[in-house]
């Protein structure tokens, strides 16, 4: 199945992806294309495999024992699942923001430059410049610019999540994966993040998993609906939400199940 990516250039091409947790068949024959500088939303009920698919993209599933993946995931022409692929550089090109904000127990400054430091960049000028640019891009510069050396653990949930977004964009990735980034946030913080996503898509490709259908409708260009490990339907958000092809999609969107 192909997403109606309009004229956008394909950056991620998933083909016949199957994933097993031990005996459990968690993703079934998923095929999906994602366009550059677009926001793609994965929706579906809990346990439908949308987060699992997201975690395939930056190979976070490597951390889990007993996972078997078949099929192909091509990012910019390179096969992600190939054992020869350099996971470290892959993860630098594909950033990730998690459901629970997870700032490191370090200062705000050190949180942002963490990705650079582990890449061996320690030039103070570069780091300073990156911190300001990333925090501005994540729309949190004004709130934290006077306390960059304070611990990031003292921030509110919404601020911490934006710090995590800033941390992800500090290494200049091409894709940002967001795994329900607003599920633990209040409506105002959620609004801020959504506005931020709108801004970010100018520069980055964004793939977002969300439980909140209004959110998917508000922020995404393309929506993919998953159910029980299968990709039921994918297409431009406006079409999926107004005129879906499949009955299951319509039932889910109108709140009849899930």
């Amino acid at each position: 199945m192909t997403a109606t990516a309009d004229t956008a250039q394909t950056i991620m091409d998933i083909e016949k992806l199957n994933l097993y947790y031990g005996d459990k068949h968690a993703l079934k024959d998923v095929s999906l294309k994602m366009g550059k500088n677009q926001v793609t939303a994965f929706i579906g009920p809990s346990g439908c495999g949308k987060s699992t698919l997201l975690r395939c993209i930056n190979r976070m599933n490597d951390l889990i024992d007993n996972v078997r993946i078949e099929g192909s995931l091509r990012f910019d022409g390179t096969e992600i699942n190939d054992p020869a692929t350099d996971v470290i550089s892959l993860r630098r090109r594909i950033g990730m923001v998690f459901q629970q904000s997870n700032p490191f127990p370090k200062s705000i400054y050190e949180n942002i430059v963490y990705g650079l430091r582990i890449a061996g960049i320690n030039d103070k000028a570069v780091l300073d410049e990156t911190v300001e640019r990333s925090l501005r891009n994540a729309a949190i510069w004004d709130e934290v610019k006077d306390r960059l050396n304070d611990s990031a653990l003292g921030l509110s949930g919404g601020q911490a999540q934006r710090i995590c977004i800033a941390r992800a964009i500090a290494v200049n990735p091409e894709i940002i994966l967001m795994d329900e980034p607003c599920s633990a946030l209040d409506p105002i913080s959620t609004l801020k993040i959504e506005e931020l996503i709108d801004e970010l898509k100018q520069k980055y490709t964004i793939i977002i998993v969300t439980h909140n259908m209004q959110q998917a409708a508000r922020v995404s260009d393309v929506t993919a609906f998953f159910y029980l490990g299968e990709l039921i339907e994918a297409g431009s958000t406006s079409r999926i939400f107004t005129n879906p092809d499949k009955k299951q999609t319509e039932d889910y969107i109108t709140g009849r199940f899930g």
Binding site: F98, P105, G115, S151, L153, C164
Partner: protein, 532 residues
């Protein structure tokens, strides 16, 4: 009533009460030890008792109780003068006392041997020391002791020189032994050279020794003439006197300064009289050095093992078995570790080291006998499970999101470990270290077989290269308590020393652990997500 129990209140109360009880018991124990330990050095007043049978006893009252046979009250008096009365303590029935007084000139003389003398100073025979003959005996005594001071210093200096020469000569002997062992013929020139060198040292030692003997015999000449309560005269050489006190004539201020002097001696001095008098410095030093060495061994091994188990090992049967084994190791009786240490470290590794590096000295062992190194290693083995368990727990308590966050930014597992996980786990690791230090400092049983001795002639650290002498035996406060309290020939006199030693051991544990706790608190503040 049933409803009340359902609320859970009674259980909360019961747990609170249990905690309070434990606290009270601990504080009582500490209080008893402190009271007996701290009071020991306070100069107690000397009372002169006139007894019904006409004799006189004089000494410091140490206890009062009901005579278990007659039911009447009696007091225990430390009368001292063990060399005259054959015992230090004496029980006196209240009904036998016909009069008491507190003579201001009663004197307590602490001696190098035979315990304290309690009596009166009559005169001083200066025998060569510059003393004003017309002065009162007490002034003469202090003048004589002051005049003696530089001579005693000279003796001490000579002694130090001699022990250094002795050490050098011993090193030469070992060198010669090694050369002889290697190849006697080939090295004969060198051996002869070293032998003459050694002979020279021996000669020097001999001259010094005769010089020392001369000095010492001269020094024993000046004497104080004392009299005990019943008028028996006793001469005491001034070199025998450690200090004199007239507690009945001392102000509170004088008593306080005497108290501080005793505390200083306790902390910095060497033990006397089979450890029941004098200082505890070698034992304090041995305990602290052993605990530090133990930490140096057990901390890195424990942390590395825990990291492997938690971060790298696949969770299979093997890992589970290792984990169970580690947990069980923490419960093995410590004496078993002692026996293992003796077999494995002392005889196994130490014996092999001797055969490989010091074969010429055999059958005299160098490392193949108990020593501070083997003791520390044995205790490290004993405490490493605690460090492993604590480190694993604290690594496990770090939220998964933190690891994933780091990895998602392109960090390797090792970078994540070093930059994020280990700093966050530090408070937990410190907890493990604190527990293991407290345990190691108090452990005695295994040490008795792998290196602790009653009286070590030398510290495991001195100014002779290589400074730390890991093969040496050492003294330990815990063993000291056992030795002084239960192996001493004069148990009654040793009792206060047991309290003092216990107090010191507790003090060391408290100081060491509070340092670690402060460090942990600082780390915790920094990495507050970890709440282990």
């Amino acid at each position: 009533m049933k409803k009340y129990f359902k609320t859970g209140e009674p259980y909360v109360l019961a747990t609170g009460a249990a905690l309070a009880l434990i606290l009270v018991m601990t504080l009582t124990l500490v209080g008893v030890v402190m009271k007996n330990g701290l009071g020991y050095f306070w100069p107690a007043e000397i009372t002169r008792y006139e007894l019904a049978d006409g004799t006189i006893a004089m000494g410091q009252m140490t206890a009062r109780e009901k005579n278990p046979v007659s039911g009447k009250g009696r007091i225990q008096v430390k009368v001292g003068n063990r060399d005259m009365y054959s015992q230090d303590f004496r029980w006196i029935e209240d009904s036998d006392i016909s009069g008491r007084s507190i003579p201001a000139d009663a004197m307590l003389v602490e001696r190098m041997e035979h315990g304290n003398f309690i009596g009166f100073l009559k005169d001083v025979q200066p025998n060569g020391l510059a003393v004003d003959g017309a002065a009162a005996p007490l002034q003469k005594l202090s003048q004589a002791r002051a005049a003696l001071e530089p001579r005693l210093d000279a003796v001490k200096k000579l002694r130090d020189k001699m022990s250094s020469i002795n050490y050098k000569s011993e090193q030469l002997r070992l060198k010669i032994l090694k050369l002889e062992y290697k190849n006697r013929e080939q090295n004969s020139d060198r051996i002869a050279e070293l032998a003459t060198e050694r002979e020279k040292l021996t000669e020097e030692f001999e001259t010094m020794n005769s010089q020392l003997a001369q000095m010492q015999s001269e020094l024993t000449q000046p004497r104080g003439i004392f009299e005990d309560a019943s008028g028996t005269v006793r001469e005491i050489a001034l070199t025998e006197i450690v200090r004199i006190q007239r507690p009945n004539d001392m102000s509170v201020f004088a008593k306080s300064s005497a108290y501080l002097v005793r505390i200083k001696e306790l902390l910095l001095g060497n033990p006397r009289e089979s450890n029941t008098e004098g200082g505890l410095f070698p034992a304090i030093f041995g305990t602290v050095m052993m605990v530090m060495l133990m930490s140096v061994f057990s901390l890195p091994f424990g942390v590395i093992a825990a990291i492997y188990l938690r971060e790298y090992a696949k969770d299979g049967l093997m890992t589970r078995m290792v984990r169970i084994a580690v947990n069980n190791l923490a419960g093995v009786p410590s004496i078993v570790y002692g026996v293992f240490g003796l077999g494995f470290f002392v005889y196994g590794i130490g014996g092999s080291i001797d055969q490989l590096f010091y074969p010429e000295r055999l059958p005299t062992p160098t490392f193949g006998t108990g020593g501070i190194l083997w003791s520390s290693l044995t205790l490290a083995l004993l405490t490493v499970p605690v460090v492993i368990i604590a480190t694993e727990e604290s690594l496990a308590s770090i939220p998964r999101g933190i690891r994933e966050g780091s990895l998602a930014l392109g960090a390797t597992r090792f970078q994540t470990l070093v930059r994020i996980l280990l700093p966050m786990a530090t408070p937990g690791i410190m907890t493990g270290l604190i527990l293991s230090m407290a345990r190691a400092a108090g452990e005695v049983a295994p040490l008795m077989i792998v290196g602790v001795v009653k009286l070590a002639p030398t510290l495991p650290f001195d100014m002779n290269f290589p400074f730390f002498h890991m093969d040496r035996k050492f003294m330990h406060l815990g063993f000291h308590i056992f030795d002084v309290g239960f192996q001493s020939p004069n148990v009654e006199a040793a009792k206060p020393m047991v309290y003092v030693t216990t107090m010191l051991l507790m003090g060391i544990v408290i100081v060491a652990t509070s340092l670690a706790i402060r460090f942990r608190a600082r780390m915790r503040k920094k990495y507050q997500t970890s709440n282990f």
